[in-house]
Symmetry: D2
């Protein structure tokens, strides 16, 4: 089996040129101004006409939840639904968060999470390993997990009593991360501050979803970013602030970087396009828009786009954490603190960034590729296997039609979530063809491939 | 008894003019261009010639330790020695930190501390109440302490297991502070970070006093300032960062202030004039210069002076924590972590600020008065009883000779500490006459007054 | 003639206490808890009951235009109308800008401006001297003007070809200012940038008042602030940025201050309460709201209030530049560049700051007094003659009724302008009695005094 | 002719892997894990053993002066000496500044400069076109220059009366740049401020080279950066600040970038490794170290390295402006203002960055390649022809021996300058083989190739 993609505008993190791409087996084997199919002396070459279209490296989502016991429920997607949705949207690799409970054995958790994907996922996948406990007895397990190919940790400063880690453990964990060359991704909100604010608001009868935001204002996140960067400066560990949502938080990370701290900034698609007014929608509809950090004042969106344009912000993920409205979000009817957090976006990310970032000129096509693919691969040790269009790279390619016009809609969604947060919004652009290691897995927004084809991407630490 | 101070240049936080000051009883009762002693129809008027001299309001030290069980020892001064030293240096009122242990009853601690001063102190005094525990059962005691006239709390983010408070308690305490109108003064260094760094350094055999600084670098303090300001923004409490030592920490406070946080910044004299090289002096002499936050890179000094000049930094205290070198500092011979922290400066503060701030033009005389007296009184609810030269204010006055030339020396010290951190340094200026509520307590650097005259200054909350 | 003001809450820049104030002749001669009128042995003592009211020091407006040939017209007020309006609003002293043309002789201009006030003004006044030319031949005249009592210069970076000064002249002028101890107040917008933007917009057919703002965006002002602060750092001159309108500009000044530049920041009342949407009002009504720097995005207002609260911003002026709508503003019907710039606010300033700053808790009463009176006097060398309530100060006092409820209205205006920019807005508070050097000049928003009583306040340089 | 480079560690701006590179003609035609020379069926394949060595893309110097009439003299190199020196040091392409006088015709200047290189240069070259006049009559010539392949302008805010441009012309030029998609590179120091400071210092008898720095302190440069960024925000033009030397300037550019300004930052090698103490060397030796912006306080070096590490600073150039000490620098014996500005570094740049940046871990190998090659190519429209190791790119390659140990020395220099600013400094690493479009031009620090092989790199605008 081979693929020949002809006449597309190849867009990489730095480049924009017209050429043909030839893939044999799972790999890109040739890129040339013009490759004649006849000359290839192969029978089974599928020729894809990409003229008038972009050809992107397969997109990578650095921040996804699929199997997620959380707040008394489980995220509703499984690897089948999530990977189909992702591929339909142009994403060929994802990094899922392993989120064990505070008493779970870390290595067992890693195996559990991996088992949910193996033989099921239609896309490639890898993991961030959450460290929710770090007493001496379990530390060796984290080394085993790294040996098994997981080169990034996740830490929650938030979620008191569930996922948060003491400062003592945090410091020790970051020392190990530095030693192993593992990057530490961090959810930066102070757990105690949030907990206290929640109690305060509930005590005042402020129970609706519109109070979720005020329970964790920008200062809480900015302070968390400052905190992790401080520990990074002390331990030398490299850090990555996930779903950075607001100007104050971005500025703290940038200031730390100026002082020499090795810190990368992730944004997620919901914060780029949604604002706090959504969470204040009447009739509990706001619950659809509850995530953490919360949706912010609109002015923060431009800060995030500017950061992506200048590449001060490195990546765009989703924090896809899929919960149904009808029977899950509704659990927080009487208290916003019980609304499962998350806005399903795995399928929409790429088109949102194109429609609301590239089309109006907020970021370039190159910045889109960099933040949604290349930089993710580089930071997390998958480049140039992933995130690149070059000879030898995996043949994960997205032929993208920038002229497509439509709307976002739940009707098109392959996720199991029962609403689309962007319902009816204008959509410009769509993945025409999506290949995973040389095979077409999606066309025109529909999954057309094989489940179970996805592989675990083992990664080596690169942040020593 | 009455005092007539004639012909001095009266220097206040905003002013500079020549006039005579008349004090009857304990109070300033008249300020006039010229007051004729003969016209006063009083027999016992002491006339003080202040011509060619400055007349300052009595200086106030916002940050002093006298009774201090700490790190396995006790600070060596008592109220007699400390108040004599302070008065000799021109300081007429001090605010001492009450620092109970984690299991002490707060109100009993307040009474203990107060008992150490009553009938003994030669100067006026008041207290900051440290909150080292805040479980529900003890909270009422803090209200009683406020009712008893202590309108400021102190919190330590530092000193793991000894003085530090959990974030949960911190938040609750700040909520109470806001409600009561009490300002929260804060030692801003993250306890866990320091603890981990200490262990790390000791494990590497880095045991000398020169490693005290690296165990708590600027990022640790700046992060602490950010943390307390974040909690201030959430609770509405007013905060005051004590002994702010470096640019990063100052900038964090200023940035918070720009966002609307009510935060005042204190510097202390040692950080204004000493730098990290002192703590690296050979033969364990560096131990004399161990305090927390530690002495910093020299470039930070100009940042502090600039902040005082522009009044972005509000006050200059001392963090006077007196430990002898011979038998106390030496306890840390084998591990810097066991060196009692502190640099005795209560007697030298005013002259240091004059010599190294005013004389070279780094700050104005007005900024000196503001930061060493007036602003302290304003922030801590003692103005205009203290900190002012106006009719009705306490007759706490310092006639100051700017032409005095000498050196700082242990020989002149009235503190019980066995060394002077500024030994042999040039000294320009000296308090010629120091009055406390209308009586002369010191002359020309010597105590000439009455011990036991000092009164507790009860204060009402003003930060509601 | 004498005044006894009884029972008021005396509010100063630092204080809040209840006492009686006695004024004899033009001066405050006594402040006491209680002064018995009978005991005064004076016949003509007017007793003013201030119970339930505030007593403020007379307010000072640091930035006023009265005689102003500008943009082909003349500002419409004269000293009679302007001083009556100011007094009715609680302002007892103003600083007018002398704005000669580029070929006028400086000293002659000073005399012209002074002649417009002498014998006419009902309030005290002094001047900033604009330097719009500085070739060697005229420099001596500026020394004469300083000798005559004008201790502050004004420079325009804006207004190409009319008021702007070359960088070469600016540098030389600031060198002289430093030498003389004169502070340099500066309008900080780059003339060339504005000129180019204006041409660009007009060429695109963008002629309405709503385009005035886009012709001089925040970056233009922030760059001007940076420029003047750079020259201040080189020459050592002290600078004061007038009508600082937006966050970017404030941050540039604060950053310069952190580096040791002596810079003070002025805000003006229109920027505190109006935003850019006013200048976009239909039917050319936006022209009423055209001033420079222009009204800004609303978010900048909170930045200005925060700056006043923390005293990072020193003063609140008006930039009162009164032009009628009917026959003056309308001159710019076809091109926003021809709309005379200015929003008359001299009468409303104090009440606007009280209603929209103090009442909602954005700033304290003390910060109001500081920014609208005391700090102006300090910076410009009039303290404590002006700006203070203390024995010996001028008896300029404002008895203020915080309980007054009304609206702002053109009907109450004593200025000659034919509209009120704040028409119909809620107004909380009013000056009940306003005294100038011991005589009542206004009551309950009406002028009741004597024109011609105003005196020139000669000032000595204090910024050496 | 063909080249086969075997077994090297290929280092790109993002990558580090071992592979063989095959070049046929002037182009890289194949990159593979292992390429067998025998299999190539070519006779004339030169095989280069790169095992144990790095293979970099040819380095590019974005900021070079060769033909330079300046300050009454001419820079001493010509294209032969400069290109040999550059190639010996690993630089295969340079961008020279065309610097005409204020009355020269722009297009004629372009032709003059080009003629100095054609047929002479041993390396590839292109130009930045300085705009030192921009009256309407000459504007069309700049379009012709762009059409001729020069896609970048240069502007000097500095050099009063010689190279500086009025703000009016600057604005118009940037409008044209935006329209054409041309990036504006800028020397950011305010000409008037420098001129005034120079006069001031000379008048005080401060004539030595040590006063060059104080005549143009950091505030002057930071203000210039702010100025160009302000004009960029108004015109939409993309800007690039050349030889950015200090923290204040870097921060201004970063802050502008945060606000959405398209700005790239260049550093130059001298500022990375030399500090102001060099310019203060006795016996006029300081003159060797006079350049503009001047060498700065040492603390700025770390800021620059941090910026390169985080890629906030995009490039490292040299500002190679070669003047002999014996007969040129000496022209400023009596006045530092007459010392020709410049520190010859074209040959040393790559090794300095390796020795003082990469070896001590301040930046990664990838950041070195990015800043010294790839990013230059990207910003200036030469990527991936230049700056890349990929199939189709020019076969400009540097086989680099990181194990080489030596010292920098004038003895090894191929420039005509009579001193080496880094004489005797430790040197770690050296280019073993340097190829230009498939031919070896230098080996082991010696030029071994053909002069006249260099080509003009025509570039198309990419900043629209």
């Amino acid at each position: 089996m081979a693929l020949l993609i002809k006449g597309g505008r190849i867009i990489t993190a730095t480049d924009d040129y017209v050429a043909d791409i030839y893939c044999e087996g799972e790999t890109i084997t040739r890129i040339d101004k013009s490759i004649d199919a006849a000359s290839l002396k192969k029978n089974d070459v599928e020729v894809i006409d990409a003229s008038g279209k972009y050809v992107f490296p397969g997109f990578i989502d650095p921040h996804v939840h699929i199997y997620l016991p959380f707040m008394g429920s489980f995220a509703i997607d499984d690897y089948e639904s999530a990977s189909k949705a992702a591929l339909a949207g142009g994403t060929t690799t994802l990094i899922e968060m392993i989120c064990p409970g505070p008493t779970d054995e870390p290595f067992a958790a890693f195996e559990t999470w991996k088992s949910k994907a193996e033989g099921i996922s239609a896309m490639d996948y890898t993991f961030h390993m959450s460290v929710v406990r770090f007493e001496a007895a379990v530390r060796e397990q984290f080394k085993q997990i790294v040996d098994a190919g997981v080169a990034s940790f996740k830490v929650f400063l938030a979620y008191k009593g569930a996922l948060d880690l003491s400062d003592e453990s945090l410091f020790a964990m970051m020392q190990m991360a530095k030693k192993l060359g593992v990057i530490v991704t961090a959810h930066c909100e102070n757990a105690e501050a949030v907990d206290a604010m929640q109690k305060l608001l509930l005590a005042e009868g402020k129970t609706g979803p519109e109070w979720h935001g005020p329970s964790r204002p920008p200062a809480v996140e900015a302070s968390g970013v400052n905190h992790i960067c401080t520990f990074a400066s002390l331990t030398g560990a490299h850090v990555y602030t996930v779903h950075t949502s607001c100007e104050d938080a971005v500025r703290q990370a940038e200031a730390a970087r100026s002082r020499g701290v090795k810190v990368w900034i992730e944004s997620v698609a919901p914060h780029l396009v949604l604002d706090e007014t959504y969470a204040a929608r009447p009739n509990f509809e706001g619950a659809k828009y509850v995530m953490s950090p919360p949706l912010r004042e609109k002015k923060n969106q431009q800060v995030l786009w500017n950061g992506l344009a200048s590449r001060s912000i490195s990546t765009v993920g989703t924090d896809h954490a899929p919960f149904r409205f009808a029977d899950q979000k509704v659990m927080g009817k009487d208290a916003f603190t019980k609304i499962p957090n998350g806005i399903a976006t795995i399928q929409e990310r790429v088109d949102l960034v194109h429609t609301y970032g590239v089309v109006p000129g907020k970021i370039s096509l190159q910045a889109m590729v960099d933040s949604c693919s290349t930089k993710v691969a580089e930071i997390f040790g998958m480049y140039p296997k992933k995130g690149a269009i070059q000879v030898g790279s995996d043949a994960d390619l997205v032929v993208y039609d920038p002229e497509f016009r439509g709307t976002f809609s739940q009707a098109d969604s392959l996720s199991k979530v029962d609403y689309c947060a962007y319902e009816g919004w204008e959509r410009r652009g769509r993945a025409s063809v999506v290949t995973l290691r040389g095979e077409v897995q999606a066309r025109d927004g529909k999954f057309v491939g094989t489940t179970g084809r996805g592989q675990f991407v083992a990664r080596e630490p690169t942040h020593g």
